[in-house]
Symmetry: C2
Subunit: 308 residues, 2 copies
């Protein structure tokens, strides 16, 4: 699993940073990409990657500001001609997204050749994706804005086929039976399956935030605890916490302080304002720990599995 | 005056060609750019040019298909932060554009810091811009699609200041009086103004088409006659006229044939399908006259004045 930041900028695009779009690449595990927010020209960014639009089957919209949604109609329309025919797609987003897409497709006389399912999200909703349970918390951004916390389901451990072969049990359908059952019989002997199965592979926890002030609500922070990856905005640097608060955004050090007891593994900052140049960002980076990143466009980071 | 093609592609963007947007650069003459159609990522294309969004004061939308309008909300929103504050902008486009923009700005909670004036256009309408008279003809594209024909107003000729100086008339307010009046007096002598003013500078005629089949209606063709510049789509090459007709598009040779008696000066083809590669296009180009062009993105061409 891998994070790919397609757009790391805030508000309006610059030559370097596009407005927000973030990919969770689950192709190796689940043969799909999950897209979070679709700033204008997200489809153009995708053209510069190996991402197949047809493999984007779920889109989460954190909030309805233009820099997070204006690329959605174009992406959806083009996907129909990029191998997406008959491959359904679901959009999760705040109330209003469905009516706007209807209005947009109606005025532009667009028709899609795949099923589009739109789920309007509310705070504290639970969403069941195939391989993830998703929780939703409301943030503080003046308009409804959400963090989506994806919890990958745990997987049973690897089968110790070397040990089975030592007992003379050859590979075959019995290996699947061993993984499924509590015990199994071979040549009159009863064995415990757990003795041949490795440690459970714990699912990953990934949190992608919409724009927001720093939120200190306990239920939200509890749900973030131990996250493998948190993606959060940092529209302001340089200790401009008051300004960030006034504009319903976050200042980077304030976020770090808010998350200091969460035992997260990786933290990635996005939604970087065009006011800051490379020198500003490099300066901020010197004070960050190794597991904290400021993303640029096309930033990629593997999200390792935890074996427990 | 100059044509700048920001997006020369059809339907969906490729790495080489963006969806449609065309600039008429009138900065030298009238201190403004006029924008025709706003495909997604037009604002991104503009970032790679010297065009100031604040100097785009009029936008013409030829029709409401997504590849011609999905960049409009983002362009309008960003212009507010790119020097556009308090500089009004007018959009001319088919019925439906206003309701869609209202829906889009309402869902995204966008507010502009400049006046936005929307004029919904109908066939055969006449539009008076400051320096142009614009006529509108309906095309044939399945949905309402227009060609906008801009007719620049004629200008009075240049003052022959050398001849005036020979008479001992020094530069000053009298030079303006000479240009405005029919005759003037200097040191008791009456002169005819026309003897000191060069030939009238004829305004240019520029026609920018929306997507369309080849249209043979006489009133439309008559209005195109003698155009300094015609921009027309060529979604199909290779004599696929029947296919072009079926999809409400045009085949390039069919267009050339339709325009053969128009005495136009320059013809530029846009809306080039991604099906065609550089080799296909080079092959077509070998058969084109010197005044006929197939545009690429960032294609620029001066539109010379005619002195009569």
């Amino acid at each position: 699993m891998k994070l790919i930041v397609l757009g790391s900028g805030a508000g309006l695009p610059s030559k370097d940073r596009n407005t927000q779009s973030i990919i969770l690449d689950c192709v190796d595990e689940y043969n799909e990409y999950i897209l979070f927010d679709v700033g204008e020209a997200t489809q153009h960014r995708i053209l510069n990657t190996h991402i197949k639009p047809s493999k984007i089957k779920n889109i989460f919209i954190t909030h309805l500001h233009g820099d997070h949604i204006f690329g959605l109609p174009g992406f959806l329309s083009s996907r129909a001609f990029q191998g997406g025919q008959n491959i359904p797609l679901t959009i999760y987003g705040p109330k209003g997204i469905e009516e706007w897409l209807e209005s947009t497709f109606s005025v532009s006389k667009s028709t899609l050749n795949y099923d589009l399912n739109i789920v309007e999200v509310e705070a504290d909703m639970k969403i069941a994706l195939n391989n993830f349970d998703v929780s939703v918390h409301e943030l503080e951004h003046g308009i409804e804005s959400f963090v989506y916390i994806l919890k990958e389901k745990d997987k049973i451990g690897e089968l110790n086929s070397a040990a089975l072969k030592d007992l003379g049990i050859p590979p075959g359908p019995i290996y699947s039976d061993i993984k499924r059952g509590e015990s199994f019989e071979f040549e009159g002997q009863i064995y415990e399956s757990k003795d041949f199965i490795g440690d459970k592979i714990k699912g990953r926890k990934i949190a992608i935030h919409g724009d927001t002030r720093v939120v200190s609500r306990q239920a939200y922070l509890d749900d973030l605890k131990g996250a493998d990856l948190i993606v959060h905005e940092a529209t302001f640097f340089q200790d401009e916490s008051q300004k960030a608060h006034d504009y319903f955004h976050s200042e980077i050090n304030h976020v770090l302080d808010n998350f200091k007891d969460l035992s997260y593994k990786i933290l990635v900052f996005v939604h970087i304002s065009n006011r800051y140049d490379d020198a500003d960002i490099d300066l901020v980076k010197t004070n960050l720990k190794d597991n904290v990143f400021i993303a640029h466009d096309y930033f990629e980071l593997p999200i390792p599995r935890n074996v427990q």
